[in-house]
């Protein structure tokens, strides 16, 4: 930017100078033309008058052959340096008298023709010795009647040239003075014009470097002033936006901490379950969310398993999840029977929150002695059951999410089912964040992909299956922003 920088000041000065030159060229042309015309008129008048005077004076003298007198008069005339010659010729153009006596008797021939003067088309002749001259003639009539000859005088053209030269010289001097003055003037004028622009540029530079507190001090009541005003306004908006952004960054940091706290609520280690293996996976979305799972031992051979999803995202869902986790732990201790527990949880949620909250939950009681699981789906999506033989099917029972309806209806609408688990059978529980995950093409992961993975890998261990799903979901989403939490629980009977 710097090497090609040309200040507006130079542009203004350049324009000024060009304008001055243009004006002076026009003035010069007009002045020279007028002056030349005036001078030619003057010279013509003078030449004609002198020639006539001489003719009047010499006519009678020539008649009486007073040649000397005539020569004297002619000589007298040429004392004026602008008059090159004065002579009298007869009808045959023979010189009768001349200011220089030696030419008497010779033929009068004007020198080679040079050019016409523009006013009356007066011819200008040229002679090596004398330079350009104009010839004027007047017929000398003796006693007013007898045509005795013609008087010729030559007036030097150099007078005109010299005067024009002088005019040129004067104009050049005036032009030079005008140029100097206009340089000085335009320097100051451009300085006044560019000063606020300079201030504006400096201000913009400072603001560009990040100083959003800076105010451009331009008080001009013109376009530059308006520009500065709006620029200051824009900076103010930018400053406010940045403040907002900083606040948001702070909130984001706090949310990250909140998310860590939230993750800590999820069980890190599961209680050792005889003959069973439990594998979990949790991938929170960018924002904090509300997926929650837990496994609690409630008897020698009995374990309760919960996976739930609090509707919504952000702080409300996260706080709700924390609270729900607390309520769940308390209520499980009171009564872990699936239907009763779901009703108790519903009661708690409804009595605390009247609106905008619902929680979908899978809740099951695993009996490791009888190898069966009693479960309810409180509005939660189905689970996938993968038998040792490779049958993959979804298991679901009728239910209503927690927080939507009163216990009376909930109880009626909730079905409890039992599933027997053989050695090698696997149960995959998950939240809808998994099947609703989006990729770049805006497609969702869908149940089918999950089903296909299980169908292919049914003989593999729970760990391997879980890794395959994790790989598949990461590959599917690539770097698409994760909208919802993903939680998975895989229960595998190993013996």
């Amino acid at each position: 930017m710097k090497e090609k920088f040309i200040s507006i000041r130079w542009y203004i000065m350049g324009m000024f100078l060009l304008l001055i030159f243009f004006i002076f060229i026009c003035v010069t042309f007009l002045m020279v033309k007028t002056q030349k015309q005036n001078m030619i008129r003057e010279i013509e008048l003078r030449g004609t008058t002198i020639a006539q005077n001489i003719a009047n004076n010499v006519a009678d003298l020539l008649l009486i052959k007073y040649d000397l007198e005539v020569a004297k008069i002619l000589k007298e005339t040429t004392k004026d340096k602008s008059i090159i010659y004065a002579l009298v010729v007869d009808k045959d153009n023979k010189i009768l008298a001349h200011n220089d006596m030696q030419f008497v008797g010779a033929n009068f021939l004007p020198c080679c023709f040079k050019f016409y003067l523009s006013v009356n088309k007066t011819p200008v002749y040229f002679d090596k010795n004398t330079g350009g001259y104009i010839d004027f003639s007047s017929i000398a009539k003796a006693k007013g009647k007898i045509n005795i000859g013609t008087v010729h005088i030559g007036i030097s053209y150099s007078i005109i040239e010299e005067t024009i030269k002088k005019t040129y010289f004067n104009i050049i001097i005036i032009t030079l003075i005008a140029v100097v003055l206009s340089i000085i003037g335009s320097f100051f004028i451009s300085a006044t014009l560019t000063e606020p622009i300079k201030k504006l540029v400096e201000g913009i530079k400072k603001i560009g470097e990040g100083d959003l507190e800076y105010k451009i001090d331009v008080k001009e009541k013109n376009e530059i002033g308006v520009l500065a005003f709006h620029f200051n306004k824009m900076t103010e908006s930018l400053r406010q936006a940045r403040e907002k952004e900083l606040k948001q960054i702070a909130i984001k940091k706090e949310l990250e901490i909140a998310r860590k706290i939230q993750e800590a609520i999820l069980p890190g280690n599961f209680p050792g379950i005889k003959n069973y293996r439990l594998i979990s996976f949790y991938k929170p979305s960018i924002e904090i969310g509300g997926d929650y799972f837990d496994i609690i031992q409630v008897g020698d051979d009995k374990f309760v398993i919960l996976i739930s999803d609090i509707a919504g995202k952000g702080i409300p869902a996260a706080l709700m999840m924390m609270m729900f986790s607390g309520i769940f732990k308390i209520k499980v201790n009171e009564n872990f029977n699936p239907q009763t527990l779901i009703c108790n949880l519903n009661n708690e949620i409804i009595s605390r929150f009247s609106e905008n909250v619902f929680i979908t939950a899978f809740y099951g009681v695993l009996d490791t002695k009888q190898n069966k699981i009693n479960m309810v789906f409180a509005g939660h999506n189905e689970m996938l059951f993968c038998s040792v033989k490779g049958d993959v099917r979804s298991i679901f029972s009728k239910g209503v999410a927690i927080g939507i309806v009163d216990n009376e209806i909930l109880q009626k609408q909730t079905e409890e089912i039992t599933l027997n688990i053989d050695i090698g059978d696997k149960l995959l529980l998950f939240t809808d964040g998994l099947i609703d995950a989006k990729n770049k093409q805006n497609e969702r992961f869908e149940m089918k992909r999950l089903y296909d993975i299980l169908k292919i890998s049914y003989a593999k261990s729970g760990d391997e299956i879980m890794n395959k799903i994790k790989f598949a979901i990461n590959e599917f989403m690539e770097d698409t922003e994760q909208e919802d939490d993903i939680a998975m629980l895989l229960i595998e009977r190993i013996k």
Partner: protein
């Protein structure tokens, strides 16, 4: 892209929803729906035939609005859900709370 249009039919306000209703479009849904039932009738049918996806936040917003409407002696019905959304509607148990119809005609007749 979420959009909401509404028109009147047989004393019901038919609210045509299209696009995706998730946490990003819920505020728009709530404010527009509120405007509708504040100045028009309180009997609303949500026409879902152009809807592609409703997240849990979306469903919870619908439930919230339904509860508010009923408290203000209005009502809400849902019509024309696609297969996938109908499944979620049933799975979550929203069918227990809000009546569902296969077409707008059925919904306005009932």
């Amino acid at each position: 892209m979420f959009e909401l249009k509404s028109y009147e039919k047989n004393g019901f306000i038919i609210v045509e929803l299209s696009g995706e209703l998730d946490s990003s479009s819920v505020p728009e849904f709530l404010s527009k729906l509120k405007k509708i039932w504040e100045c028009k009738a309180k009997k609303i049918i949500l026409d879902m035939k152009n809807m592609e996806f409703i997240s849990s936040s979306g469903w919870s917003a619908i439930i919230e609005e339904c509860k508010k409407l009923r408290a203000a002696s209005g009502d809400m019905k849902i019509a024309c859900l696609n297969k996938k959304m109908k499944r979620i509607f049933d799975v979550v148990g929203i069918n227990v709370l809000i009546k569902y119809y296969e077409s707008i005609e059925d919904a306005t007749k009932d």
